[in-house]
Symmetry: C2
Subunit: 581 residues, 2 copies
Amino acid sequence: MKSSALRRYIPFTDWLLRYERKNLPGDLTAGVIVTVMLIPQSLAYAMLAGLPPEIGLYASIFPLAIYGLLGSSRVLSVGPVAVISLMTATALTPFAAPFSAEYVQLALLLALMTGVFQLALGLVRGGFVASLLSHPVVAGFITGSSILIILSQLKHIFGVQAAAGHFPYEGVLALVGALGETNLATLGLGIASIALLLLTRKPLRLVLEKFVSKGAAQLISRVGPALLVLIGIGGVALFRLDSIWGIKVVGDFTTGLPGITLPSLELPVISALVPAALAIVLAGYVESVSVGRSLGARKRQAIDPNQELVALGAANIAAGFSGGMPVTGGFSRSAVNFDAGANTGLASLITAGLIALVALFLAPVFSALPQVVLGATVIVAVAGLVNFRELLRLWRYSRVDGALMGLTIVGVLGAGVEIGIGLGVGMSVLAFLWRTSRPHMAVVGRLGHSEHFRNVARHTVTTYPGVLLVRIDESLYFGNTRFLEDQLQQLIADQAEIKHLVFIASAVNSIDASALDSLEGLVVKFRDAGVTLHLAEVKGPVMDRLNRVDFAKHLKPGQIFLSAHQAVETLTPHPNPARAA
Amino acid sequence: MKSSALRRYIPFTDWLLRYERKNLPGDLTAGVIVTVMLIPQSLAYAMLAGLPPEIGLYASIFPLAIYGLLGSSRVLSVGPVAVISLMTATALTPFAAPFSAEYVQLALLLALMTGVFQLALGLVRGGFVASLLSHPVVAGFITGSSILIILSQLKHIFGVQAAAGHFPYEGVLALVGALGETNLATLGLGIASIALLLLTRKPLRLVLEKFVSKGAAQLISRVGPALLVLIGIGGVALFRLDSIWGIKVVGDFTTGLPGITLPSLELPVISALVPAALAIVLAGYVESVSVGRSLGARKRQAIDPNQELVALGAANIAAGFSGGMPVTGGFSRSAVNFDAGANTGLASLITAGLIALVALFLAPVFSALPQVVLGATVIVAVAGLVNFRELLRLWRYSRVDGALMGLTIVGVLGAGVEIGIGLGVGMSVLAFLWRTSRPHMAVVGRLGHSEHFRNVARHTVTTYPGVLLVRIDESLYFGNTRFLEDQLQQLIADQAEIKHLVFIASAVNSIDASALDSLEGLVVKFRDAGVTLHLAEVKGPVMDRLNRVDFAKHLKPGQIFLSAHQAVETLTPHPNPARAA
């Protein structure tokens, strides 16, 4: 393999095998700071996904390291993220009870499937499919899923039991029904936690900026969640919050490194999880690549979308085999990694190593962590992503785009993330097909005595009795064949004297099989109506295709003319201009 | 309502309220002949759908009459059809046991949902969505589902029990496993039935043509299945085939007209059936409209696609409330109706009335009908639809279209009809997006001393140092924004001396919100790289949109120029042509 290809497909050969000393301080700082931030996040997102908290740590060891080695972004930090955890919960709940051993198995399977799909898509250079997620759909998906995530965490804030249902509204109803059993101590701690987290976000940073550098202030404020975790654990230990006030804690926490796990492979379950895995592939990839691109642009580092798919795929496969859950590149975490000075993937390797140490030695501590603290962490992390202003802005820009975002939000809130994304993508594509389904079409005539033919509606041209010349300004494909058929048949129906219809294909770059089928149908229908269909000015590659299926034979007695001029000369042997339009 | 609108939206006001006597003989003949053909078909397709045979008759009474009154085609004959029955079975089997009371309830619900979706789609004039089913997908779907239908009937031919599985292959495995228990009498009767049906199809017709008119011969040959049914019933009655030879008969058969039924409405079940209902909506609509169009063309009667959706929707809703199952316009049946001389919807009303009489008085006779006869009827009906030659033809015409048909067949056979159609539609759309995702783009320069700017690769033009002029020949939408970003960034990366990039939008008819977002991102990224982005020749409607979101302000210090000429004049105050390409 040439060294440039090696650098592209196995990026760490570029930075790790010839590591530059000067990058170490930045990588080390970033690795440590991201670890501090990742601990509460990974625990919280695991619980959001309905998984024991240690799974969050496991998903932040091997997947993180693998992405660090293979990713084309040097600063993207991979691991559990909020929306993928929510999607995991939605996907798995119908098949097993959250926190059960079976459910954990299914999470491994889902991670593996996600990884295999991403890897496959990356290997066939299919990064292009991310285009399917248009901006309104992504914006609607982020706002809708953030609201769902907040709703899902409210039970922890109120300290009540409320099962998630098949549809989001069922979870809300269950929560409302359970509010009578609110644990006030938990609620108080929850509100205090949220307040503390909000304080450390911006106000604290602004105060700190007066004493330390702007960058340092920002970094310290990022440590807020970890600080809160320490306070929570300390509180439980000192004041026995759990046994006296009934504040729920994380409880049993498995210590140690993840073993090698083998997801169970049952075909019916696999096929049932396909839609969820595909939704996670898309959502995870879009989140990752947008973060990678925007951070990469600041350092003039290019992101290779297909290599990203390969790296994310490998990370998810690693998650499936090491007791994890589906992962992707997280926005806030990657930003912290970048701000803290990460220069290479080594920062992620360091984070992965530190998380492994935490899993090995610090884990018992977390069993005393109040669940409400994790709930508050999640809520504050996603609250800023709810963005209804964008809905207004899009609506103002274009009704269709605004409606697409609105529909996606409604879909996500009403029927869940997967269906919401599906609806948004489906409607975006339909809106696009609708727009391209009505190509421009012109009846043309001869300009003076030239060989040029122009639109009769715009130019003074000569037309010929019995011969209709029609130009279509678009390639023919399955989306516009029906419109075309209807239009051409209308033209014929309007003018009974027409005996020949010449379809001028000068602007047609391709004719797909559906359009071919439609043309063959038109030949027959026109023949029944006493009209012969001809083609003219067919481009070379299009003609080659038509020849492969002997289209000229189908067309008979219709002909394929080189030019509109030739068609007119042949079909009206003694040109007798009838009228000038 | 004006009378033309009345005729359009309530078609029977056109032909029934002022019925012309001369149409009666044709309508009467067609009504009777279709009845004779419909009896075995409706029984067989009900059993294919996993429903008691009388359901097939019920679905051929009210739905048939309602379509007759509301349909825009005068000759389309609506009722149970093979592929919709197969899709019904696939959709319902996971929720209840075939032939159980619960299953029958679900069939009503599915018919109702199908009807509501079709009606809604028709009312919003959404007939356009049928374009989604490209020719290769429809062809693949027909071939694949016909094979599935044949496979599903083989158990009746062999006289064995074999449960259908979640995936088609499971049914095949079950069948193979059960072949040891083949009932030879049943197999013999099955083979004889198939042979008889094949004989009446073409050979008998060719013989008959020597004695009677061609049309009459064709009609008599259509009665083959009904004849076979009579033979089957007679055989059971005379020779006690069921008790002596173990040939399974239809058995219990409810006599009488359907009551008014109310599908049970449970939200989780409804939502689980949505994909199946949507697939049936699409497949049923496409089958119906293609038949209607091709028969309509022969009589110069136009089909209104949206009115067809309304009429099919009403027919399916009627099926849901009158003990039926999902229905659509059938190909062979409509052709018979047409050939037998149907002139108006009265033919369908007559058929519906006769079927009602059959349900009332003749039903007990059918309990003696051997199942194997129905299985043979189904197999012969769909065998002719398996068409692998088309796969070859498409592959020869275009690799992409051939692959789409192949993929749809594999999807249908491997994972069922719904997933197969979904896969085909999804891949067709992806293939189209892929083709449109790489718009033509040209770096342009000034032609001589004119104000015209042309492609530097094709013309000898003047370019300007530090200013890059780029024209993009396509509207900007979510599918091509990423390609665009990459291309523009590449252009900048290649030429470090560039300070201004002027994007000439003369061929851009629209910019959707995704492309707007992308442009705003480019402004920032270019600014970071020391390049200012400008626009030129923005069309009026596009500019109006951009103004709504204050794009000019985002663009600063970039400007929006009226023309490329003006951009050059402004950005290079003292034009100093550097090189002529």
